[in-house]
Symmetry: C2
Subunit: 293 residues, 2 copies
């Protein structure tokens, strides 16, 4: 398993930690990411079933300010993944390192920790801020070549806030790669909210016609795909009205689109909300991952 | 519930946060602790059942370097507590504040974050480092007077590492106050391990005869109580041999003492270990809390 996986096609893959958890293994790796390019960490949970046969994988994309570790320590997802036999991979939320440009004002919503899962086209971001390629292409290729415990062809994607935007947007653009997609409190219309407008202006430039390819509402309105989606939103979320705008997602849905949308009275934007409903999300993905063997 | 509880006998109780979690509420409070004396934070989870009738309470004592928040964010205990109808209270691990002395060397195992749940007798610790009185007397009194949602007479106690030492030691000295006690990777014989010898020397002085009152192995060897206990220990715990010494606890048990001891191959000292078995611990306590209505 993990320790052997260094001896693969990707010789830069280095295991940082390997911790028993719910009968499986919570792993962390460091590698030289070619798409970004910089050294990146990611976290990977392998359920006990992975010792016997390849298991499907769910990618988790985190929100602003997070690294690969927030989900791993706070969401309580390993318990459910260990029951269902699902691997969980959590990448970081932006390129990292001394050579990677950051917002000169060090704002939490631009630069480090705020990659927004796009391929930047503008200076000084364009060289490193290519999280779309990293999540869509590089990581799945690395999984397929390095982890025999995982069946990389059976994948789903989920995330929170900025990562919820990333998960839904990536699934809509790559419906053949994911059995299902889900999000907690996603940024549904980044082209229309302050977080998204700021990030897209810096990363993609002022021409808003280039933004639509990364905007879930714009993508879903024109999609012919029907990848199953689940979205959960807390009604006491402090970012609900100004930044998240789930009502725009619901309004943009093509007739009959398979979106399961759940509002929860009293819940906020925190990992306590995620932990409370992570089991339902993983069981949702399990349904479609098992239907696509 | 929470927000009203400020208007009680303890007028210093201030609610810091109130977050929905698993149908219940994850609360945090700040108050002026008279036993320490300083301003302290504690975290409290109220399960949904507390809205209808008073629920029993389980105290959680954390380990070295922790605050009241580590358990709350990492253990995943709220899910089980919400199912069973149990309140969870996590205090901090030492007195806090500018006026509270710390280790001049700022070591992680003495001073702030390392109260060891004793009443210190030595300078400069004696005025503030009185975590034993705080946990045994002040917090339960505060709970009884301030939270009508909790039946303070039905209590259990548990903890991790230094907090596992605290939980077992406090239960053995106060068997009528707790229905049961449990620990993850407890420091079983603090008088005999480096962490405990250092802390007890500073807090209690060189006279080792004064240490036995805070030493689980010494206490259990002479106890006539039979408070049910559960201890879980990971076999890959990096502190197992030098600091934790569970074999001394097993050897010190009086004949027939109701200790359920579980070793787990591969698990370490982290919260991934705690999260993996927290459900079993809470179900253990639930059994005895429900047997003592």
């Amino acid at each position: 398993m993990g320790k052997d996986s260094k001896d693969t096609a990707n010789s830069s893959l280095e295991q940082v930690s390997d911790i028993h958890c719910f009968g499986g293994r919570q792993l962390r790796y460091r590698h030289r990411a070619t798409s970004l390019p910089c050294t990146m960490n990611f976290s990977l949970f392998l359920p006990p079933q992975a010792e016997r046969a390849p298991v499907p994988i769910v990618y988790w994309l985190s929100g602003l300010t997070c690294t690969d570790e927030n989900f791993v320590t706070k969401a309580g997802a390993q318990r459910v993944a260990a029951e269902l036999g699902i691997a969980l991979l959590a990448p970081d939320t932006s390129p990292r390192g001394e050579q990677v440009p950051d917002d000169p004002a060090a704002a939490y919503d631009l630069g480090l920790g705020a990659g927004f899962y796009v391929n930047a086209t503008q200076a000084p971001w364009a060289e490193h801020y290519r999280m779309y390629d990293y999540v869509v292409d590089e990581l799945p290729s690395l999984v397929a070549s390095s982890f025999a415990e995982i069946d990389a062809s059976r994948a789903a994607i989920m995330g929170h806030s900025m990562g919820g935007h990333g998960a839904l947007m990536i699934a809509l653009r790559n419906p053949s790669r994911y059995a299902s997609a889900s999000a907690f409190a996603p940024i549904c219309a980044p082209s229309q909210c302050p977080w998204g407008i700021k990030a897209f202006t810096h990363y993609l430039g002022d021409d808003r016609s280039r933004w639509a390819q990364y905007d879930t509402c714009a993508l879903i309105a024109g999609t012919e795909a029907d990848i199953p989606m689940r979205v959960d939103q807390g009604e006491a979320d402090q970012f609900l009205e100004e930044q998240l705008m789930p009502e725009k997602l619901v309004a943009a849905l093509p007739p009959g689109y398979p979106l399961s949308f759940h509002r929860h009275a009293g819940y906020d934007h925190s990992y306590f909300f995620i932990a409370s409903f992570i089991e339902q999300h993983l069981r949702f993905h399990d349904l479609y991952l098992k239907a696509n063997p």
